[in-house]
């Protein structure tokens, strides 16, 4: 097994854990945590491909990962703001009980 495939397997495992969390948890914040794990697994893939790819001096994968971190931070801020807003409105963060789009 090459080092790169080891990193890819770990990233696939983390992505699946995050996906399972996002699909099975009831708390909206835990769903966001699962999404963050999935984004981080993708970042690990980008960095691993950059490190073992043919032209690391071009910095392509590194730049991709840095911009991905910035976008994920923006996503976390807006997502948690939405969760707080919904909690103030419906007094719950349980996704199974958020079954109406009308207030």
């Amino acid at each position: 097994m090459t080092p790169l495939s080891g990193y890819l397997i770990v990233a696939a495992l983390l992505f699946s854990i995050g996906l399972a969390g996002a699909l099975t948890r009831r708390n909206a914040i835990l769903v966001l945590i699962g999404i963050e794990l999935m984004l981080n697994a993708a970042n690990l893939n980008l960095i691993a491909f950059w490190r073992y790819g043919p032209h690391p001096e071009a910095l392509t994968g590194m730049m991709f990962a840095i911009f991905s971190i910035a976008v994920a931070a923006a996503e976390a801020a807006v997502g948690l703001g939405l969760v707080i807003s919904i909690h103030r409105h419906a007094h719950t963060t349980d996704l199974d009980r958020m079954n109406r789009m009308k207030g």
């Binding site: 090459t2 080092p3 495939s5 080891g6 890819l8 397997i9 770990v10 696939a12 495992l13 983390l14 992505f15 699946s16 854990i17 995050g18 996906l19 399972a20 699909l23 099975t24 948890r25 009831r26 708390n27 914040i29 835990l30 966001l32 945590i33 699962g34 963050e36 794990l37 981080n40 690990l44 960095i47 691993a48 950059w50 490190r51 073992y52 790819g53 690391p56 910095l59 590194m62 730049m63 990962a65 840095i66 911009f67 971190i69 994920a72 931070a73 923006a74 996503e75 976390a76 801020a77 807006v78 948690l80 703001g81 939405l82 969760v83 707080i84 807003s85 909690h87 409105h89 996704l95």
Partner: protein
């Protein structure tokens, strides 16, 4: 495959599993921090020092704190009586296992075409700064705009109810 790789992989995967499986939401957020730290160690091991320290600053320093604040503001640390997993958790588990099976199969099948050990790339912060201000200046500006919009949007979304109550 060094022993450090296996240690960091075990730490990261254990942190991720705990973040998804634990009952108390605050414990989940702390386990998520462990997973983020493991990923930062992975980045450092892959000779991406800048990305590793950016990961520590952004994820452990900001996102984890934000998650803890959101949990405390929504009183999400109280464990609900009817379990923490949704009714159709089994379907989600099957989908995740299927995704992992496909990804793992693809990686293991393509193992012989993946590149082996290569020379360690020497990347200085000066090079990254030059690339950010030169070739990647347009994406940098767009990300700056996105972060500003996200910050204003998050504040407006979280403030909305209070204004309408007046």
């Amino acid at each position: 495959m060094s022993i450090a790789f296996y240690l960091i992989a075990a730490l990261t995967v254990a942190g991720g599993l705990a973040a998804v499986l634990l009952k108390n939401t605050v414990h989940c957020a702390l386990a998520l921090t462990v997973a983020f730290a493991g990923l930062a160690l992975f980045f450092l091991q892959l000779d991406a020092q800048f990305a590793g320290f950016a990961q520590i600053l952004v994820y452990i320093g900001a996102v984890a704190i934000l998650v803890v604040f959101a949990i405390l503001l929504t009183r999400g640390s109280e464990t609900p009586k009817d379990g923490v997993f949704s009714k159709n958790w089994f379907v989600g588990l099957v989908i995740a296992a299927g995704v992992f099976a496909v990804l793992g199969w693809a990686v293991l099948q393509s193992g012989h075409v993946l590149p082996h050990e290569t020379a360690v790339p020497v990347v200085t912060v000066l090079q990254i700064g030059n690339a950010l201000m030169g070739r990647y200046v347009l994406p940098l500006e767009i990300v700056a705009l996105l972060l500003t919009a996200a910050m204003i949007g998050a504040v407006i979304v979280a403030l909305h109810e209070k204004e309408s109550a007046k």
